[in-house]
């Protein structure tokens, strides 16, 4: 994989965040926070009238972007993000990033990246850094 500092990571888009998938995620997480499934609770907290996407789902979109670029989920070594604002049902999102360093550690080529998840207006909702291996680190069975 030919990678250089400054390379942009291919964008990975979510056309419209799904309220239904938030409900599935709430059940999978056993997450009692009603802002993810109960619009009345969201209104009561003064947060608008659309459910709030789970932070892990927002992270997952960026992880998908990294896997699509690097060759698989087994490439991820480190992933650190700060949550800057809420994502609501119906929002359009775009995950992207840029390579900030290419190095070798224990014989494995790694790429350090700045990553970001932005809303339709280009405002960041999540920002951080990630490190991915530039070659396979696990062997799949044939």
């Amino acid at each position: 994989m030919d990678v250089e500092v400054g390379d942009a990571l291919p964008e990975w888009r979510v056309p419209s965040v799904s309220a239904e998938k938030m409900k599935t995620m709430a059940a999978l997480l056993a997450d009692p926070n009603p802002i993810h499934f109960d619009v009345a609770a969201v209104r009561a907290l003064g947060m608008g009238d659309r459910p709030v996407n789970q932070g892990p789902l927002n992270m997952g979109y960026v992880m998908n972007m990294l896997a699509a670029w690097s060759g698989g989920h087994d490439r991820l070594r480190r992933f650190r993000v700060r949550f800057l604002r809420n994502v609501f049902a119906g929002d359009e999102l775009c995950a992207g990033g840029v390579v900030t360093a290419v190095r070798t550690e224990n014989g494995v080529r790694l790429a350090d990246c700045d990553v970001v998840l932005t809303g339709a207006g280009g405002e960041p909702v999540l920002k951080g850094t990630a490190t991915v291996a530039l070659e396979p680190v696990t062997k799949e069975k044939p």
């Binding site: 979510v14 998938k21 599935t24 995620m25 999978l28 997480l29 056993a30 997450d31 009692p32 926070n33 009603p34 802002i35 609770a41 907290l45 947060m47 932070g55 892990p56 789902l57 992270m59 997952g60 979109y61 992880m63 998908n64 896997a67 698989g72 989920h73 087994d74 991820l76 070594r77 480190r78 992933f79 650190r80 993000v81 700060r82 949550f83 809420n86 680190v137 696990t138 799949e140 069975k141």
Partner: protein, 152 residues
């Protein structure tokens, strides 16, 4: 996971909880759960390597307390609207679908702050470690912070 507990009043100082250890537990990346998580996060289901989101899912799913119980350690409930602050996943060996992981960890930090627009809030950090139950290898770490609004 254990049953819910009734939250108490906010602790006078959230730092009193720093160092408190999670009971811990075990988490298996069941194929059905791997499929549903992949579908929910708009990824392609299938394959042997679990989505890296499972580091967070396994860590928090087997930390040994419910979210309500963790919130109660800091005198909060889900209705207070606790929010994600920061997250860090470190993968030493990719998680596998079908594998079982042991989880352990502790509260690493707690601070009370006041924002101009948000008012008072607490920032709580916690770290969880994953070990493969089959061979004992330390495979991943998960560090997070939660923001607890303190609306009075």
């Amino acid at each position: 996971m254990s049953e819910r507990t009734t939250p108490g009043p906010p602790p006078a100082d959230p730092r009193e909880q720093v160092g408190r250890r999670f009971p811990g537990g075990v988490f298996t990346v069941e194929p059905w759960r791997a499929w549903l998580v992949a579908d929910t996060v708009l990824d392609e289901p299938g394959g042997e390597v679990a989505h890296p989101l499972f580091v967070w899912l396994a860590a928090t799913g087997a930390m040994g307390v419910t979210w309500d119980e963790l919130f109660a350690w800091f005198g909060a409930t889900a209705d207070d609207g606790p929010m994600f602050g920061e997250h860090e996943t470190t993968v030493h060996r990719p998680l596998r679908v079908g594998a079982t992981y042991r989880v352990s960890g502790e509260i690493t930090g707690a601070d009370r702050k006041t924002g101009r627009s948000t008012g008072p809030f607490d920032v709580v950090g916690y770290r969880l470690r994953l070990h493969d139950a089959a061979d004992g290898v330390h495979v991943a770490d998960c560090w997070n912070s939660i923001i607890f609004p303190r609306r009075g």
